[in-house]
């Protein structure tokens, strides 16, 4: 793939795609979206980078080791938050009973553990999309 137009447009558009993905993840508890949608958007931005610049370039930015670590870390982060609930209140993934700060209704910081879990899901889904795509296309 050596197309000047594709490469230039990709360079221009990728920061906006990733910013939108981060917005969707961080506002997952206030507006439509959430961890799965935002993670898919961020993963799609890296897939676009792979399609335009080739797999070696993307791996020099985000190696397979990093995506695997983030992927495992997402699940462990999720379980860790659930275990906090067990330690404090005896309820797995407890939210209000476990004493997470609730914040004000309708603002970004609200809902206790929900935004933390959404960030974990977003990282997990994004890294899964990237590493699935890389594993599938890198075989000749």
């Amino acid at each position: 793939m050596d197309d000047l137009i594709v490469k230039t447009v990709t360079k221009l558009i990728i920061p906006f795609i990733q910013l939108y993905g981060i917005f969707v993840i961080l506002h997952g508890h206030l507006s439509p979206g959430g961890g799965f949608a935002g993670g898919a958007i961020i993963g799609a931005s890296f897939i676009l980078l792979t399609l335009a610049f080739g797999i070696e370039y993307t791996k020099s930015i985000l190696s397979a080791k990093v995506t695997e670590r983030v992927e495992i870390g997402g699940v462990i982060w999720y379980i860790f938050i659930g275990l906090i609930g067990i330690a404090i209140s005896g309820v797995f993934l407890g939210n209000r009973v476990a004493g997470f700060p609730m914040g004000t209704f309708g603002s970004v910081i609200s809902g206790g553990m929900i935004s933390l879990i959404t960030i974990g899901i977003g990282l997990k889904v994004a890294s899964t999309m990237i590493s699935l795509f890389h594993h599938i296309i890198e075989e000749d």
Binding site: S31, F36, L132, H135, I136, E139
Partner: protein, 125 residues
């Protein structure tokens, strides 16, 4: 006349049924395995459309509470939340199927089911 209004009222259900039949036709008639994976994806989309349409309530809002308005007339949020699981499973199944297809293509050099069976028969003899 009542038949026509029934069709118009349930147009999402009819669309889901038609999509399901199109996907099933793709799976049954094509011998290219990649096209069969695409057919399975179309069938999954039909099931998602059907399930989400069950939760639709006429005239209701999207299930996001507006603190200033404070109305409580929302569509059913449960099917939308459950279909998220279905989408994740669909992505996983597609990825696994595609990886199996890559192995098949490496071993046989083709994705046509007829040719794969023919090569297998020749190898057995």
């Amino acid at each position: 006349m009542s038949n026509l209004s029934t069709i118009i009222d349930n147009i999402n259900y009819i669309g889901a049924f038609t999509l399901f039949i199109i996907g099933l036709y793709t799976v049954l008639t094509h011998s290219n395995l990649l096209k069969r994976v695409i057919g399975v994806n179309i069938m999954e989309t039909a099931v998602f459309l059907f399930f989400v349409s069950i939760g639709y309530i006429r005239g209701a809002n999207a299930p996001i509470i507006n603190p200033e308005v404070g109305d409580t007339f929302f569509v059913n949020p449960l099917p939308s939340a459950m279909i998220l699981t279905g989408i994740v499973v669909a992505v996983s199944i597609t990825a696994y199927g595609l990886s199996l297809l890559i192995r098949l293509y490496k071993d046989y050099g083709t994705l046509e089911l007829d040719e794969i069976i023919k090569k297998e028969e020749i190898a057995n003899e």
